[in-house]
Symmetry: C2
Subunit: 213 residues, 2 copies
């Protein structure tokens, strides 16, 4: 019996591994196409073609386009979680937040799935009903909020803004229209990245000058 178990139970079995691998490939392809073309424009046929399987096979893994794309979004959040996990312990809160911003901006410049669904996309509606997605987002939000609170306490982030606002301001950079706008005008990704970080963190008005009216 023990030997049987070793052969059948110990790990997912080749079949299950294949299954999982294919599912991962599907999610990866979806994630890429979602970033390149957006939810409405992307088609399930394209995903199937990209993976190299038939569309019907895809529907054995996922209930529908919504389901598929929700999984892709969860995949992106999971990547973010792993990134946050991998941050060196010696980094302070501000440095962590800066690294996060850098990561989000690079993600968009790489034409990958943005962390946030596009405004008014049907995907946004779907995600509202996806508990797994909300749980992941909740987890990363809590972690980031803690860093923000620390940075504010240390006087490194502006205290006038609620932590939640700073959180949203950061996350929103993942889909900032400024990046495509500058790219369209022919700038290098490296420049765009630097400007985006600078304008987000430092703002637009001059330093010692008058505050808002």
């Amino acid at each position: 019996m023990g030997r049987m178990n070793q052969l059948t139970q110990p790990r997912p079995s080749f079949k299950a591994q294949m299954h999982q691998a294919r599912e991962d490939a599907i999610v990866a392809a979806t994630s890429r196409l979602l970033g390149e073309k957006g939810f409405e424009t992307m088609t399930v046929d394209e995903v199937a073609a990209a993976v190299g399987i038939a569309k019907a096979s895809l529907y054995k893994h996922f209930a529908g386009k919504d389901d598929l794309c929700a999984a892709a979004m969860v995949h992106v959040v999971a990547r973010l979680q792993r990134f946050l996990d991998a941050l060196p312990d010696e980094l302070g809160p501000v440095q962590r937040l800066q690294a996060l911003l850098h990561w989000l901006l690079q993600l968009q410049l790489g034409d990958e799935t943005p962390l946030l669904p596009e405004r008014n996309s049907a995907l946004a509606q779907t995600l509202r009903g996806c508990d797994l997605y909300h749980a992941c987002m909740q987890e990363v939000s809590a972690r980031i909020l803690a860093w923000i609170a620390q940075a504010q306490a240390a006087g490194q982030l502006r205290r006038e803004l609620p932590p939640e606002v700073i959180l949203c301001a950061r996350l929103a950079r993942a889909a900032d229209p400024m990046l495509p706008l500058l790219r369209e005008r022919g700038h290098d990704d490296a420049d765009i990245l630097a400007w985006a970080m600078d304008s987000c963190l430092g703002g637009l008005v001059a330093r010692p000058a008058a505050m808002l009216t």
Copy 2:
């Protein structure tokens, strides 16, 4: 002949006026639906229904959905131009820029067509080929760039950022994902507006603190 002219030429004739009025109504409805639902989700049937005419009649005015929505986008830019025209002469460049930002943010909060097409929307591709749209955008960009240059010269805007970057940073606020994000979390539009302006102009890091790494 002169009298004939007075009767026939002097103004568009009732028919033409009706035509123009209907066309305006179509564009207005399109603009609203475009803001509410986005290009891909919005349907021509909905526009026709909103105006109260048959879809076929709509196609007598516009060649297709692309054409229709391009007209709507031009309409939005034209509104922006009128807003800029109406700014009081006594306002300085910084105040003008601030008013502009306020206007753009309010536009988005009102669920109207954002000044910029959504990322990866088919509309963006269409607009690339629309000379009228580019001409309008070029005109407003030039005007705003002039104010930015003045404000930078006066030390009121950061000189480290190229004027073009500041321009894009402003315009991009018209489609900033931060607004929907904060709204989803249950905040008032007034608060969101204030936070968006503050974080855009003043940035996130504390004032006298260390610069970027």
